[in-house]
Each structure stands twice: as C-alpha cells, then as structure tokens.
C-alpha cells in the first residue's frame, strides 16, 4: 500500500466535492437497496460526514494505528444504526466504484489494490470493535418515556427508563433517536447521576427548526419508546485527580449536566465548593430553578446564581451566565465547566480567557447537532 498514491488519488477525487459522496451512496443504495433504511431521509450531513471520515483515514494512511481508536469508536457507534458485518463489503464495493468513476484513466490496478487494502483495514477494525462491544452491551437501548413535563413552551424535562442499565458518568452524553424522526440521532447529557432505578433525566430544548428536539418537546408522551446509544465524551466529566473547587456556567438546558455534576460532588462527600451560574434570557425560562434551589438549601457548599440577559427588571444578575461568573470572580484556581448553546459556549470561553487558564475550562465535545446558533 502506497500512502502517497492513496492521498493523491483522494485529493483528486475530492475536487468533485459533494458529487463524490452522492455517487457513493447512490451506488450503494442501487446495489443494496436494503441499506437505505439505515439512513435518514435527508442525506446532506451524512455525505459531509462520510467525506471527512474517509479524509481522516486517508490522511493518516501511513500510520493507520493513529486512527484506530477513532475507527473503533465509529464501529461501536455504528451498531446503534443497525449496521451489521455484511454491510461492510457492500460499502467497500460502492467506494471502489465511486473512486473509479471519478478518477477515470487515473484508476489503475495498483491504486485499486491500495484502496482495497486500506478499506480492508478500516472495515476490520470497525467490525472487530463492534463485535467486542457486542459482548457486554446491546447495540442500542430501548427506553420508555416515564414522564414528560413541558416546563415552558420550548423546554421539556423527560425521564426515561432504559430496558438495560445504561452506564454513564455525569457530564457524558448519550445519543437518542425518536421513532417520529427515524435515523436522526442527537446527543443529550443526562441531568442526573446513574440512579438506583436506572432512570435518566434529560432536558430538551426545542431548537428552532430542529426536527428531533422539536418532536421531543412537542410530540412525545409517557409510554413512547426511544432508542439510546452508549455514553460518549470525557471533556465535561469531573477530573477525578483534581480537588479544586468548581465553577459551573450554564446557559438554558446546559444546566442538565451541571445538575449531574453537583450530584456527583454530593455523592463524593461535598468537599468541593461549587458555584453554579445559570443564565437564560428571561427569568421564567429558568425552568428547573425549584430543584436547584432545593439542592442549594441542602448543601452548604453549593451556591446558585441566576442570570437573565433580556428581562429588564430581573431579580438576579442582569446579563448572561458568564458575565455573572466574571462579576463574582476571579476564579484562577477553579475548574470551570461551561455548557449551553454553541454560541454561548464560544462566548463564555472567550470571556473567561483572560482570567482562567484554558486547560481548566471544560466544554462538551458532543453538543446537539441541531443547534447551529
């Protein structure tokens, strides 16, 4: 296998942009119509994902072991989509046909051999990881909606009971699919520690134009069955080696993982001071304040500060959560956790930059893909 030849051919192919994944998926679906049902109605984000995943593999073709962890994760994750071993050769076949189509005369038997070998490795790593994961966890969890409270017009608090125990740590995210929007998976962070009864509390905000979040807030009721994927993400979990006090900065439903982190601090003895700054635009959008005030009353190491950025006469910090935190700071020796919309997280990290070292600021890596703001 010649890595340079592989990269060159890939670069030549990607000049055709979106047409490449389009051709790939159309070929795959024509040859194997049964694979189509593994994908959502709209394929546009899927195509981008395929190209960037292949690009990542190709660019490290000379040291494939570097991408092995990513591929293993991908393989495990594909179980929830319903991918099985027999799908892998079908994908390989469509990939080779696509490359051949776009490369034309540049497609040589040597190049075909390179690509066959490279794809063989990828498929092997992914199927091995999937098989390994199958030993101790189901491909997905079926979870029943136990309660659904629409706290305000665009936010619901949903409690789920998975059919098997779903292991996760506070700050991690689990992916979720609702039968009303098949094949669209979205990440949500549980708002509680793993509980005795196995219930998982999720806070869902209906993102403007978001198909899944809208359906979860508006069209979901107790008794509905959702699918859950395994827990992912490490960046918003508590650093077990650190004993520093915590500053939690949350916007809207970003308070969900913070609640779970607070529960974890309590479970570990409550020997860390915790400041939670929770912001919304209006005070009445702080949909879970009652629960947080109860936690605050229960634990003397916890302080909850509410912030509203739009409401003129708000009784609390008038501004967003990070402004509240900065006003109460500085926090040079604290571990700072930020969760909220992508715009809120970006703005907060920038604003904290001057006073908090970047490696002490924790943000989630698996945000909700519906939220583009």
């Amino acid at each position: 296998m010649d890595p340079v030849r592989l990269k060159d051919s890939w670069n030549a192919v990607t000049e055709h942009g979106d047409q490449v994944p389009l051709y790939f998926y159309s070929t795959l679906f024509l040859n194997h119509p049964e694979v189509r049902e593994l994908f959502p109605a709209s394929m546009s984000t899927q195509r981008d994902r395929l190209v960037s995943a292949l690009g990542a593999v190709v660019s490290s073709a000379d040291q494939l072991e570097a991408v092995v962890p990513v591929l293993q994760q991908l393989g495990r994750d594909h179980r929830k989509f319903g991918a099985v071993d027999t799908h892998y050769p079908a994908v390989g076949e469509a990939l080779l046909a696509t490359l051949e189509h776009f490369l034309g005369d540049l497609w040589t038997p040597e190049l075909a051999a390179d690509w066959t070998a490279a794809y063989g490795v990828v498929a092997q790593v992914m199927t091995d990881a999937a098989a390994e994961a199958a030993a101790d966890s189901p491909p997905w969890w079926d979870a029943e909606v136990i309660s659904h409270e629409q706290r305000i017009v665009d936010i619901a608090v949903i409690r789920l009971r998975p059919n098997y125990r779903l292991p996760y740590r506070p700050g991690q995210a689990i992916s979720l699919e609702t039968p009303t929007r098949p094949k669209l998976w979205r990440f949500y962070s549980p708002a509680n520690m793993p509980a005795e009864d196995g219930l998982i509390e999720l806070h869902v905000r209906s993102v403007d134009g978001g198909p899944v979040s809208g359906a979860l807030v508006q069209n979901t009721q107790p008794g509905d069955m959702l699918r859950l994927g395994p827990a992912v993400g490490e960046s918003l979990t508590l650093d077990t080696k650190s004993v520093s006090d915590l500053v939690l900065i949350a916007g809207g439903t970003g308070v969900a993982p913070m609640k779970a982190l607070i529960e974890q601090v309590a479970a570990e003895g409550g020997n860390r001071q915790v400041h939670l700054f929770w912001g919304a635009r209006w005070g009445w959008e702080l949909y879970d304040l009652e629960a947080l005030r109860a936690l605050e009353a229960e634990h003397d190491w916890l302080q909850v500060v509410t912030c509203a950025s739009v409401e003129p006469g708000f009784d609390g910090v008038r501004g967003n959560a990070v402004e509240g935190a900065l006003h109460a700071g500085p926090w040079p020796d604290h571990d700072v956790y930020v969760c909220g919309s992508p715009a809120m997280v970006r703005g907060s990290v920038d604003a904290l930059g001057a006073t908090v070292p970047r490696d002490r600021i924790h943000v989630e890596e698996f945000g909700n893909q519906e939220d583009l703001s």
């Binding site: 340079v4 990269k7 060159d8 051919s9 890939w10 670069n11 030549a12 990607t14 000049e15 055709h16 942009g17 979106d18 047409q19 389009l22 051709y23 998926y25 159309s26 070929t27 679906f29 024509l30 040859n31 109605a41 709209s42 394929m43 546009s44 984000t45 195509r47 981008d48 690009g55 660019s59 080779l96 046909a97 051949e100 189509h101 776009f102 034309g104 540049l106 075909a112 403007d208 134009g209 978001g210 198909p211 809208g214 635009r281 209006w282 739009v310 409401e311 003129p312 006469g313 583009l372 703001s373």
Partner: protein
Amino acid sequence: MTTADGPPPSARRPVNRLTPARVRSVQFPRAAVGRRGYSGEAVDQFVRRMAEEITARDAAEANLRAQLDRVRRALKQWQSRQLERRSDTGTHPVVTDADPATPEHSVEAVNTLSQAQQQADAYIAQAQEYCRQITADARNRADAILCEAQERAEATTAQALRTYEARQAALAEQEAALAESARLRDEDLTREADRGREPANGVAVDLDELDRRLNWARTFVSALQSVETQLSSSREALSVELDALDRLRQPAADAGATADGTSGEEPPAADTSAPAGSAAPELAPLQPS
C-alpha cells in the same frame, strides 16, 4: 475540472469543496451593536441561492460525466470489436481489457438517484429553514412585546405612584387646613368659654351648634363683605358727584345762578364718566390748570 495550465494532481492542495449542506449551515457572527454590517436577511437569501446553484452545477457536471462514461464504454466496445476483427485476420492476440469491475448500473441510473436525493435534501432543508425563521421571528416578537409590556407596566406604576404621592400631599394639606381651622375654632370656643357666656361643661359642648354658628358667622362675614364692596363703590361715585357739584356751584355762584337739581336727583351712577363727560365741554375751560 483541471485546466490545461493547472498543477499536476499530486501537487494539488487537498480541497474541501463547498457542499450545499455546508453552505446552508454556514453561520456568520453578528456584527457588534453599533458596527455596520450586511443585512442578515440579504446574506441568508444569497446563501440559499448559492446552495441551489452548487446543486445545479453538480448535477450538470454529473450529467457530463455520465455522457463521458457512455462514450468511454462505446469506445471500449468499438476497440474490442476491432481487436476481435484483427485476431480473426490472424494477427497476434492481445489481452482484452475485460473490466470485471464495470458497475452494474449505468452512471445515468446513479445520477438519477442522486438527483432525487438532492431534491429531497433541498426540500427538507427548506422546510427546516422556514421553520427556523418562523420560530426565531416569533421569539423575537415575543421578546419585544414582553419588553414593551414590562416597560409600560413600569411606566404605569411610576405614574400611579406620582399620582398617589400628589394626592397624599393634597390630602396632607387639607388635613393641615382642617387642623388649623379646628385649632382656631377651639380657640374661639376657649375664648367664649372664658367669657363665660356658655357654662363650660367642656365635654358637653354641642359641636353641631358650634358648626351652625360658625357657618352663620361665615355667611354673615361674606354678606358684610359684599355689602361693603357695594357701599365703597357707591361712596366713590357719590364723592365724584359731590366734587362735580362743588365745581358747578362756584361758577354758578359767581354768575348768580343756582344749579338745578338734575344731577342731585339722579343717583350717583357707578359709571361716573357720563355726567362728567357731559359736563366736560362746559367745565373744561373752568378746570383749574
């Protein structure tokens, strides 16, 4: 795709070509308040337009490739037929380029499916974008309405507070006046009691009776005032009349004639100008300078 003077494939930088999906999901940061920037709506519109254009060009390109594919196949078939013909005529046999990896489906079939998928993608994107705009717009309006309502409520409250305070002040003034009049009345009563006109059983003072008397006294005073006004104006008119008579009498005495009683019979008019005016031509030369 490659121009004649373009770099060779190996030297090409890896391009991440814009896809319709990436164009549709692009987010521009908002200009800071007070900074000038493009109209968000115009940018959104252009971005949507661009996504459609890219889709259309991709489709055109795909069609060209399909044609190319057809031509290539035809060429291959022609070439293999030529080869067969040659081998029939006895020339050395050449390994035929029988391609086992030839796709089962024509490129046209693949393209047709691709275009259907792209159409579906565009419809879904449009529906979601529309939904996003409507919701965002509704939220902005709700915010504006709430802000306005809250401001109006605050203004109304402030106004009500001012009115209340003004009323309180007026009431306090009235109360002070009442207290003052009560004090005066008490003084009067005390004085009356001191004078011993009423046996001052103190508590047994009939307040109603006092009020009645006070009112009567007030009425009496105001009646007196109006009488006084009338009297004073009558007095003034009278004195003017008397002055005039005085002056008339002197020349008359000089001339040995007596003034008739006309002016005396007429009551002194409030409007003193008339008699004075009528007398003026006669009197004018007599006015002492």
